[in-house]
Symmetry: C2
């Protein structure tokens, strides 16, 4: 049986593959930052007490490595505060000494944003996991920044509500990290981005000042909405220590359909399945995800226990075995009966017109869980396959899959006889350990495609073929080079593909106002000047 | 028959009442700003051409006066650009000359934010009304900043979508002004705040630089989300020239109930009507508004054609005539039949338990329109009654009505024999033109109460009784002194009641980075240093 959630940073990848490629080369260390001294460790010890400071290299190691095995820093210590006051005292010291700091939540980020680049001190929120409050009148939940998303989801569910976001890493990602990276995920379609759901934040600024914006009011229009700046700032403007967030009422009835469609166009075109879902399912629609056949094949091969929800050979409609695209459509409402009637009408209309080849409706929560595990497990499956180049892009819905085909063509022509002898690009059903695989999946309803290029190892030549081409392609199609993952270390130098110089100039002035010494998460988000 | 929408700034109030009271006294003019010269007008003329510059005092006058007749500036000219390039050229000149500028949309604001305080130049977006695009794949609508909300709503409806916000002033307010003030309104309960719905903005900075953030992508995580700063900045950081906004699919079936409840507590308490609505109506719930009896009486008296939806004397349940509170509960979904079944179950459960005294369900859109006109017309009705002290506050839902009772007590004890001989406070059914009336209504589902104190004229003694008491009361109950109206001129000095000094310090540094000379909407939002 599949587990729905991916494992956290503690679980190790089988392949030990470290980046030596161009784009993952570290920018030079900023020599204005101080070097960590034993006297600093003594101060940290005095602030945090026993167990609060980790310096054993073996224990520090996982905090230096990102989830993909792509980025690795060489921080010498990890700070584990339990309170906002401790975070404040730590940053006051780091600021006075000009020690660079990387805030780290669950370390599940995908752009190298949460690990050191050089010798930055890691400030982990791993011990700050307290649920601070829940207001049943409004659904406002307040928690320390290190609380794990799935734990908060369970707490909200117990109280008849749900968290407004969900993502594959929910078993290990922390709410503070979610907010700092403006995480998206599968519920954004229904509940909107965190910019609309986060009610309040408590943040410690670089100098140790505590900025108390931890209101749990739904509405507050008193001056510039500063908390918005921290949402998506990836720890570069302040360390989020607590979050208040609006939890919608939980829907008692959820239904899930898994559909095979003949083309991407059938999924999204003007009168396609998405449009039909928006019109027929309306307020019930809670997720509209897609995966291509290549994603399905990787998931089937590398996720233990994964099962094809539409195994072509076992059905009377064998052509679904070669269907190129699959959709996961979830609805959530107040009544099982109403859900069923609406879903049936939607399926009848789309299947009748040939926009859907075949489909299955989950009969219970176990089946629904299996389908979700497949969709959400693609990231994990790709990690097991080897190195991954991940591009989290957004486009107009109509155009969002074009980049996947273009990447396949580009790689196939660059490696006509295969990469390391394996087949270039990818075709359904064929997979050798040496082959490149180009897969596309993601949040169709939000125009967000995850382009993943899976390779046996990280390779400078391969990376140079993909970057900056993929960013140029995205900019040429008016897309965003980071839909939900952020810029981190990986895309900081590429911000210009999605933001004009005037915006970057204003971002720099904000960074300078909030963190004048630049000690918070250096080398990330903003490009070198 | 009532019209749903209130009239715009062109319609004049019968009572010509100008503020001489303490809180509405103007702060001193900043002498660093230049005085307008004829040579400036010549430059403006050359940029805007014929009809673009208004200098006739009679024509300029409405741009100098706010909707309530409370604030009046003495700007000498109004600029009416048609394009972003013109806005840029105008601000380049104003910046070079250090001329202060007030951006103005529909001039429907309620905190004196959109009119000059002294001789600032008014920059009106009244001619920038073009619908720039609509993406049927995503529901993204893009328009120039001066487009009127109701016009955009009609455009979205034609395309099967709806605007994510609606408010009483929709017939005259402009989308740019909505965004600049972070307008809330009756749909926030369902669709969340503008921080989650606005996809992109085009903004002209104080120096004339055009900041192009006009993406219509649903997701974009490339750097700090600068557009968020302009949402709610009330024209002090830049002039919004275009807006891209996410329009949800329109719900084909809408139902409306108007309910009389025995107490505010019955409406909101742990097992009250709001909780029941959240649980039973779930995803269908689209508005949950309230008005007190005093609001109802003012609306009935001053709105032409207003009709009491539950006229107690005509019914078999006469006690509703004295019911102290009324709720407007709207649901919007895909199916009339499902709506009806859900609403019936909800009403049965709440009426059976005595939480609702009586109720009526609108039988058609005309009846629904009448109920909405009553609720949304309270602001207009109060204006016809005379002077209004408006306080737009938010609290925890449970506590939100306390301030209304406390204000009544305070005024009744201050004026035991009545204000100008009229009865102090207010009681249902009694109204003399000299009496103070304290009314409360608003967005119950969002914890947002509109406390309005209606008086025959603006009066310094009366104002001194209310302010700062009302802000102290709000701060003591962890509320916000501005839920959705903004700070403007009225509450700029009071920001400290809702925001800590560290936040105000950061706001000042942002203002300095975006508008170093402070020429954009001076004397607003931030308190004098």
């Amino acid at each position: 049986m599949l587990t729905r959630r991916v494992a956290g940073p503690a679980q190790q990848v089988g392949l030990a593959i470290w980046a030596r490629a161009a784009g993952t080369l570290a920018p030079p260390r900023n020599t204005e930052f101080a070097l960590l001294q034993d006297s600093d460790l003594a101060v940290f010890d005095s602030i945090l007490g026993s167990g609060g400071v980790i310096t054993d290299p073996h224990e520090v190691d996982p905090y230096n490595r990102d989830w993909m095995g792509k980025y690795r820093g060489r921080g010498r210590c990890v700070l584990r505060p339990r309170s906002t006051a401790q975070v404040s005292a730590l940053l006051r010291h780091c600021s006075a000494r000009r020690l660079a700091v990387v805030p780290q939540g669950g370390n599940t980020g995908l752009v190298g944003g949460s690990v050191p680049v050089h010798d930055e001190v890691v400030l982990s929120t791993g011990l700050m996991t307290t649920l601070l409050g829940f207001d049943p009148g409004s659904g406002a939940l307040t928690a320390q920044a290190g609380a794990v998303l799935a734990t908060l989801e369970a707490a909200a569910r117990e109280r008849g509500h749900a968290m407004p976001l969900d993502l594959g890493a929910s078993g290990s990602c922390a709410i503070g990290g979610n907010v700092a990276t403006n995480a998206g995920g599968i519920r954004l379609l229904r509940h909107g981005p965190l910019h609309g759901s986060v009610l309040g934040l408590e943040v410690v600024l670089a100098g140790g000042q505590v900025l108390d914006l931890l209101s749990s009011l739904r509405k507050d229009n008193t001056g510039y909405d500063l908390k918005q700046l921290f949402i998506g700032s990836e720890g570069t403007l302040g360390v989020i220590t607590a979050v208040a967030i609006q939890c919608p009422a939980a829907s008692p009835a959820t239904s899930l359909a898994y559909l095979a469609v003949p083309s991407f166009k059938a999924a999204q075109q003007a009168h396609g399945v998405l449009q039909a879902a928006r019109q027929n399912l309306g307020e019930l629609l809670s997720a509209f995800e897609f995966l291509d056949r290549e994603s399905l094949e990787v998931a089937k091969q590398f996720l233990p226990g994964a099962r094809d929800p539409l195994p072509g050979s076992d059905t009377v409609i064998p052509y679904t075995a070669q269907a190129p695209f699959f959709l996961v459509v979830e609805i959530a409402g107040s009544s099982e009966q109403h859900n069923a009637a609406m879903l049936e009408a939607f399926l009848e209309s789309t299947m009748g017109e040939g926009r859907v080849l075949d489909g299955v409706v989950a009969q219970d929560s176990r089946q629904a869980g299996e389908i979700w595990a497949l969709r959400e497990g693609i990231t994990e499956a790709l990690r097991h396959r080897g190195a991954i180049y991940k591009y989290d892009l957004s486009f107009r819905v109509e155009e969002m899959y074009g980049v996947v085909g273009a990447a396949r063509e580009r790689l196939a022509s660059a490696y006509p006889s295969g990469f390391l002898g394996g087949g270039a690009g990818s075709t359904a059903g064929s997979d050798t350990e040496h082959a490149l695989k180009v897969v596309g999946y993601g949040h169709l309803g939000d125009g967000n495609v995850h382009l993943n290029i899976s390779a046996p190892r990280y390779d400078a030549g391969l990376e140079a073929l993909i970057e900056p081409w993929v960013y140029e392609f995205t900019a040429a199609h008016s897309g965003s080079i980071s839909a939900e993952h952020g810029l981190g270390r990986m895309k900081a130098p590429c911000i210009g593909y999605s933001k004009p110089p005037e915006a970057v100039r204003l971002m720099r002035s904000i960074k300078a106002a909030f963190d004048p010494q630049g000690i918070l998460n250096p080398y990330k988000v903003l490009p070198p000047e």
